[in-house]
């Protein structure tokens, strides 16, 4: 399980989990799960285009992920955000369908792009993934506070001179970056699970923002490691385990919150006991 070619898998998958945990934290905080779902799927069309033109898959993924993210941001200014996200998503997928229909060798390729081919990570993927991950994490840490302010109290942030629109665009670029590096490894459909599951579970476990982000990374790492091990042993697709573990950790965290709630409730000094429903 830890032989030569599997080492690449472990390294790349860990980097992917790190990024998914960090970006996923803000995705969940901002309630942007749909965007986090749409951008990777849109990027999938880019991979199809790249393979049709015989270019580097990573380039196709990056360009399409950026296009999807920025398109959603721009159109979202005048239209409903969820509607625009849905439309951007299906247009990208429509293009993907077109490119795939033109290409000759599609069946296994499309399957691995959608659902991940974690056991086939090559040595050449390690370097670009690491670089993209560094850029992505540095980006998140750099804008941590303004992004937090804009996500939590947008009206006040505007009054303090922070542009909500610009921060939103920046966030979408970060999601796009995270996407283009993770899609070849966990696949477009499951990149999303890796971003949402751990982050959603983490926020049920702690009240502190930075601790929640760290926990989200830890849970993402655990999810990926367990999924790879299970996939290696059973030969079942890694995506299945990522999705199942994501739902499982979320369910367990909700259960924990449910058990813990009465404690915080009685410990709270709230006159009138008026807690949010």
């Amino acid at each position: 399980m830890f032989s030569g070619f599997m080492m690449n898998t472990w390294i790349v998958a860990s980097i992917v989990a790190l990024v998914a945990g960090v970006v996923g934290f803000f995705t969940v905080l901002r309630g942007s799960a749909f965007v986090a779902h749409a951008v990777p799927q849109g990027a999938f069309a880019g991979a199809a285009a790249a393979s049709l033109l015989g270019m580097n898959t990573l380039l196709g993924l990056g360009v399409f992920a950026l296009a999807a993210g920025l398109g959603i941001g721009v159109l979202g200014r005048s239209g409903r955000h969820d509607v625009v996200t849905a439309l951007a998503l299906v247009v990208m997928l429509g293009l993907g369908a077109l490119f795939l229909s033109r290409s000759v060798e599609y069946a296994p390729e499309i399957y691995s792009l959608l659902f991940g081919e974690v056991l086939g990570v090559s040595r050449s993927q390690v370097a670009p993934t690491s670089v993209l991950a560094l850029v992505c994490i540095a980006g998140v840490l750099l804008v941590y506070r303004p992004l937090m302010t804009v996500s939590v109290v947008p009206e006040i942030a505007e009054a303090r001179g922070l542009s909500v629109y610009r921060m939103e665009m920046l966030f979408l670029v970060l999601v796009a970056l995270a996407t283009s590096m993770t899609v070849p490894v966990v696949g477009a459909l499951l990149m999303f699970s890796l971003m949402i599951g751990p982050a959603a579970a983490a926020r049920s476990l702690t009240d502190r923002p930075l601790v929640a982000m760290t926990l989200s990374v830890v849970l993402a790492l655990l999810t990926v490691w367990l999924a790879i091990a299970a996939s290696y042993l059973s030969n079942w697709p890694v995506g299945f385990f990522v999705g199942a573990l994501g739902a499982l950790s979320y369910g367990m965290a909700r259960g924990w919150l449910f058990l813990r709630k009465p404690l915080t409730r009685s410990g709270a000094i709230t006159p009138g006991g008026a807690l949010g429903t």
Partner: protein, 278 residues
């Protein structure tokens, strides 16, 4: 009881310089003039009420002061300097803030964002920031809420945390948009006396918008009354009169004094105008 601003003026005449001047502001939205030729000023240490019926343009006026809405005419001067898009010395508590109860964020984290929420980089632990946050939470009687999830606090508690968030960067002005709406009677009185105390102790100008002036009457130093797209400012005695308000509304209104409350009624008979010496 003399207003806190009045006692300041005696001890420190310099504090009488207005921190904010609004001169001849007009705003048109969608081709319709919402505000016309509005002028007033705010003094440090004073609590000013921005009073007017719903839809009179109170929020728009606040947005102009904050630099979020460009006026079609007039100008806003902050601390003697014209409005710039740089650092804004005004704290702001908007009318509706929805805080997700599932968000992992304690009251102290939200207040800390008020200090450096616009700066790049992740927050490193700092004793001075921790101290500033706790002082401010103490000032709004919310220190005991510091480690609770902010989204799970009650409306009145969230209000106090947001006030701490707005104050922690030590602005010279704080604007509160309808802070009393959706509060019960007791929290309403608590917030009002809290704001009066803050104005007095921290020597900052407080502007509170409200559609109901009565809760603010005991603490309000000055009033800006907005109606019919125009505004009148001064002390309550100067502004809240039948003559001034009738000219603002463009129709006859009566100002009735009932016990310690003021009631503005439209369309009553001008002949039977009860006047009580307030």
């Amino acid at each position: 009881m003399p207003g806190p601003g009045a006692s300041d003026a005696q001890s420190d005449p310099g504090a009488r310089d207005p921190v904010l001047e609004v001169e001849g502001i007009s705003v048109s939205l969608g081709g319709r003039e919402v505000l016309g030729e509005v002028s007033f000023y705010l003094l440090p240490g004073q609590l000013t009420g921005l009073i007017g019926p719903n839809g009179a343009g109170k929020t728009t006026l606040m947005r102009v002061i904050l630099g979020l809405q460009a006026p079609t005419a007039g100008r806003v001067t902050l601390a003697g300097r014209p409005h710039s898009s740089g650092r804004r010395p005004a704290g702001y508590v908007p009318q509706k803030v929805v805080l997700d109860p599932d968000m992992p964020m304690r009251a102290r984290d939200l207040v800390a964002l008020g200090i450096d929420g616009h700066r790049f980089g992740i927050p490193l632990p700092s004793r001075s920031r921790r101290q500033a946050v706790e002082e401010m939470l103490e000032a709004v009687d919310a220190l005991h809420l510091a480690d609770q999830r902010v989204g799970r606090l009650s409306g009145g508690e969230q209000q106090r945390v947001l006030i701490a968030h707005a104050l922690v960067s030590r602005p010279s002005i704080i604007l509160l948009d309808e802070p009393l709406a959706s509060l019960d009677l007791r929290s309403e009185q608590e917030v009002v006396s809290l704001l009066a105390r803050i104005a007095e102790r921290q020597k900052i100008a407080v502007l509170i918008s409200a559609h109901e002036m009565n809760p603010l009457l005991p603490v309000m130093d000055r009033i800006v009354y907005v109606a019919g797209g125009r505004a009148a400012s001064g002390t309550t005695e100067e502004v809240v009169t039948t003559e001034v308000l009738s000219s603002l509304y463009g129709q006859h209104v009566d100002v009735l004094h009932v016990h310690d409350r003021i009631v503005v009624v439209a369309g009553a008979d001008p002949g039977r105008e009860p006047r009580s010496g307030a």
